[in-house]
């Protein structure tokens, strides 16, 4: 259960050494897009020696490896899989590539869905046992669809809703696409709120400036926590069926939601 997944370039020792100061719940060390073709081996060696030397309880560490169509996919896994980290982010994920990766590792997998076909077939990917989360890659998706990536994000409303529904059905985390303007924190907040309203559980981040906003939006609010406490307190005295609170009917799904919210609040040290 993480709110924020911060990408850091895998071939940059300065970033790696500071990965625990950014306040992100999870870090994704990137061996793919941020690493040039001729330095893939450098990055892999650096990450190998970094993770051999340093261990982290928090934040959770994921590695974005290179996709299965590249000559680097097998090397990334063969060299790095024995190290201590939580899981892989698999770019351009398909059902077949997730299955191939899951045959080579027991670690968890975040499927990065960023092609039109992967979104068409997303439920088949989300339902796979080793997929703990899906991450929407909207930039690659909109490029492939030849549509503009807008500030309003209207163009990804459908795919956000689709993934949110499918992830909820399979109890899988849905991580929203990153916001790409590193300085526009007001619009970042709007973007986070839109994603959260549609059902995203967390957001990926490509600049440390964004961590605080993302953590705040994806945390329970003070009002939500207070309301959940009231629901749970009243539920203790109403052992059977539904009851009324402030004119609203409270039943089992709402009680369960309140329990989940309190659990989240405890995890994020908001209680």
């Amino acid at each position: 259960m993480s709110r924020s997944f911060l990408f850091l370039p895998g071939n940059n020792p300065g970033s790696l050494q500071n990965l625990d100061i950014f306040n992100a719940d999870s870090i994704i060390i990137d061996l793919e897009d941020s690493v040039t073709f001729d330095t893939k081996d450098e990055a892999r060696d650096l990450v190998y020696h970094f993770l051999s030397k340093f261990m982290f309880k928090t934040p959770s560490i994921y590695l974005r490896i290179n996709d299965i169509s590249t000559p680097f996919f097998n090397d990334d896994i063969d060299v790095l899989d024995s190290l201590e980290f939580k899981g892989y982010v698999l770019p351009k994920a398909t059902k077949e590539s997730v299955i191939s990766l899951s045959k080579k590792t027991d670690k968890s997998i975040i499927a990065l869905l960023e092609t039109p076909m992967s979104l068409v077939k997303s439920e088949a990917i989300i339902s796979l046992k080793q997929v703990d989360a899906v991450l929407l890659g909207a930039e690659d998706l909109t490029t492939a669809m030849k549509i503009e990536s807008t500030v309003s994000r209207q163009e990804i409303t459908y795919v956000r809703s689709k993934l949110a529904l499918e992830c909820a059905a399979h109890e899988t985390l849905f991580i929203d696409t990153p916001y790409t303007d590193k300085d526009d924190l007001a619009q970042l907040k709007n973007d986070c709120l839109q994603a959260k309203i549609l059902g995203a559980n967390a957001k990926s981040i490509i600049h440390p400036n964004h961590v605080d906003v993302v953590n705040t939006v994806f945390s329970p609010t003070t009002h939500q926590i207070a309301n959940a406490k009231r629901i749970l307190k009243k539920a203790e005295t109403h052992q059977k069926g539904a009851f009324n609170l402030d004119g609203k009917m409270i039943d089992k799904p709402i009680i369960n939601r309140a329990k989940n919210l309190i659990a989240q609040a405890k995890k994020y040290q908001l209680l």
């Binding site: 020792p13 081996d41 020696h49």
Partner: protein, 85 residues
């Protein structure tokens, strides 16, 4: 022919290797006065782990930690061996 790995970025180092008649380590570092001996130790231990004794190694260090120096040297060694093949 020489090979390199790493960069001049802060916290990193650039290591260059070329075949030589004997082992020679040339260290340029912003922290050579404080850590020059430790840098040399990491370099020589890593080379010894690969049984490399005839090489000229130049390191331009911008404050890299031991794990970075070792990683960059491992990459350079592999690249040198790939060239030989």
């Amino acid at each position: 022919m020489n090979v390199s790995a790493g960069s001049y970025e802060s916290n990193d180092c650039l290591i260059t290797l070329e075949p030589a008649a004997e082992l020679e380590c040339i260290i340029h570092s912003v922290v050579k006065e404080q850590f020059g001996e430790q840098i040399e130790l990491v370099l020589k231990q890593t080379l010894a782990g690969h049984n490399i004794t005839h090489v000229k190694l130049v390191i331009n260090d911008k404050g890299a930690l031991d794990y970075t120096i070792k990683a960059r040297l491992e990459t350079a060694i592999r690249r040198m061996r790939d060239l030989d093949e």
